[in-house]
């Protein structure tokens, strides 16, 4: 029920006074309500659940967490190679 999928905002428009957007999920385009993300811009990625965009996905945080593992991974590999 709480499934939410990431997609890229390709267009922002208004419908019946509600902020809406076109979202691109790797080629499949669908619409979502953007009312809860007043600051969202075209080109940003968002998580969509039941037709509503819930958050703007944060690229810096993704990079930080993946880089941390990248470094730690090298240490683990070193240990593996020595043993």
């Amino acid at each position: 029920m709480c499934l939410a999928i990431p997609g890229k905002v390709t267009e922002i428009y208004s419908e019946n006074g509600i902020k809406m957007g076109k979202i691109d999920y790797s080629g499949t385009i669908n619409t979502a309500c953007l009312e809860y993300l007043p600051e969202i811009k075209v080109g940003q990625y968002t998580l969509v659940h039941a037709g509503f965009a819930l958050s703007i996905l944060n690229d810096d945080e993704v990079k930080k967490s993946l880089d941390a593992w990248e470094e730690l991974g090298e240490i683990i590999n070193d240990i593996d190679n020595k043993s």
Binding site: L3, A4, Y36, P38, G51, L54, D59, V62, I76
Partner: protein
């Protein structure tokens, strides 16, 4: 796909798993709250590769599973009324009520329609002004913003033939109820990433403190789940109990504030019964008096409902993490996804359905 593939990377998953194996020295019981996470764990075989010290127990985070039988029966009664178009997310249609499910209502001629978003239900109401359109507003905090928006918009546009049958549930009170039970085995939580995307995680600080359990808001991909487990295990091994956010790309401490504001404008917090578990104080949402015109509970009178739970089903115990689906005597015998006895076998996020689909048949 960006933001998915990185978190499905098998090499990274192996690194994190190695780190978990290195960290753990004692047995620990960790509960993932959300049914989406249960499904990810079983589908990716995470339960089978973790160190034997770590036991994952599956939480009550499947709204389909915990919607009380009375409300399912009420939905079925309303959907069967002439002049009603009953709309719902698809996964509610097969949940067994006492005598039938919403699918059967449809096959008997009821106008039951699956919608993808509550705003779609509102459009149906606009296009059918002579009909009463009811939306089955079920879900956790993740789904509440959309359902709140549908009522807000109906009021703004003066759409009087729209209402919601609300059975919203809230996660933190359920987490607390499980921890305070004398039977509790949970020592650490993976909190539900999308619930926290909306609500943030401030609410968890006092729970972590009071019950001395680590709580880690966690995402849904294999890398997320493994990293969430690692963060919990590290805290347990070090004797810490804090809220630590794994799902950094989506969850902020304060959550999504515009969403929280509209939720509390439309709904108020109320006691709520959870199917199989019982009543949990202050664990649900219902429609505020100002919006009572959109409350299907008040709009439709339904004769006394006599509920009837199948005796064999132990889903309540499973939803509390006290037993595993394959310990249920009916699992895979009387109860299968095509002949479900309980909602945990119907819902794609239910623990019983996940165990059946991925063949965790037990001893």
């Amino acid at each position: 796909m960006k933001y998915l593939d990185e978190f499905r990377d098998p090499i990274l998953a192996k690194k994190i798993l190695a780190e978990i194996h290195k960290t753990v020295t004692k047995p620990w019981v960790i509960m993932e709250i959300c049914g989406g996470q249960t499904h990810s764990i079983i589908r990716n075989g995470i339960d089978q590769v973790l160190p034997k010290e770590i036991e994952l127990v599956h939480g009550p985070g499947c709204p389909v599973c915990v919607t009380p039988l009375e409300i399912i029966d009420k939905a079925i009664a309303i959907a069967g009324k002439p002049n009603v178009i009953f709309t719902s997310f698809g996964d509610m249609l097969r949940v067994p009520g006492s005598k039938k499910d919403l699918f059967m209502v449809k096959s008997e001629g009821g106008d039951v329609r699956t919608v993808y978003s509550p705003l779609e239900a509102l459009t149906i109401a606009k296009n059918n002004p002579k009909k009463e359109v009811v939306f089955f507003a079920v879900g956790f905090e993740t789904t509440a913003p959309g359902n709140a928006m549908a009522i807000h918009q109906a009021a703004k546009e003066g759409i009087a033939n729209f209402s919601e049958l609300v059975s919203h549930v809230l996660v933190p009170p359920a987490m607390e109820a499980l921890l305070s039970s004398p039977e509790n085995r949970v020592q650490g939580y993976l909190a539900a990433g999308h619930v926290c995307t909306i609500m943030g995680w401030e609410e968890y600080d006092p729970i972590a403190e009071k019950y001395q359990v680590p709580i880690v808001p966690t995402g849904f991909e294999p890398v997320d789940v493994l990293e969430g487990i690692l963060l919990v295990v590290k805290q347990l091994e070090e004797g810490r109990y804090e809220v630590e956010n794994q799902y950094l790309r989506s969850v902020k401490r304060e959550g999504n504030q515009p969403a929280q504001e509209l939720i509390s404008k439309i709904y108020k917090i109320t006691d709520r019964k959870w199917r199989g578990i019982g009543e949990i104080p202050q664990s649900g949402l219902s429609i505020r008096e100002q919006y009572s015109a959109y409350d299907a509970n008040l709009k439709f009178s339904v004769e006394d409902i006599q509920t009837n739970e199948p005796e064999l089903c132990i889903s309540g115990v499973i939803l509390q993490g006290l037993k595993k689906p394959n310990e249920c005597p009916a699992f895979g015998k009387e109860c299968t996804p095509t002949t479900p006895l309980g909602a945990t076998m119907v819902s794609s996020e239910g623990a019983c359905a996940a165990y059946y689909k991925y063949q965790r048949m037990g001893k």
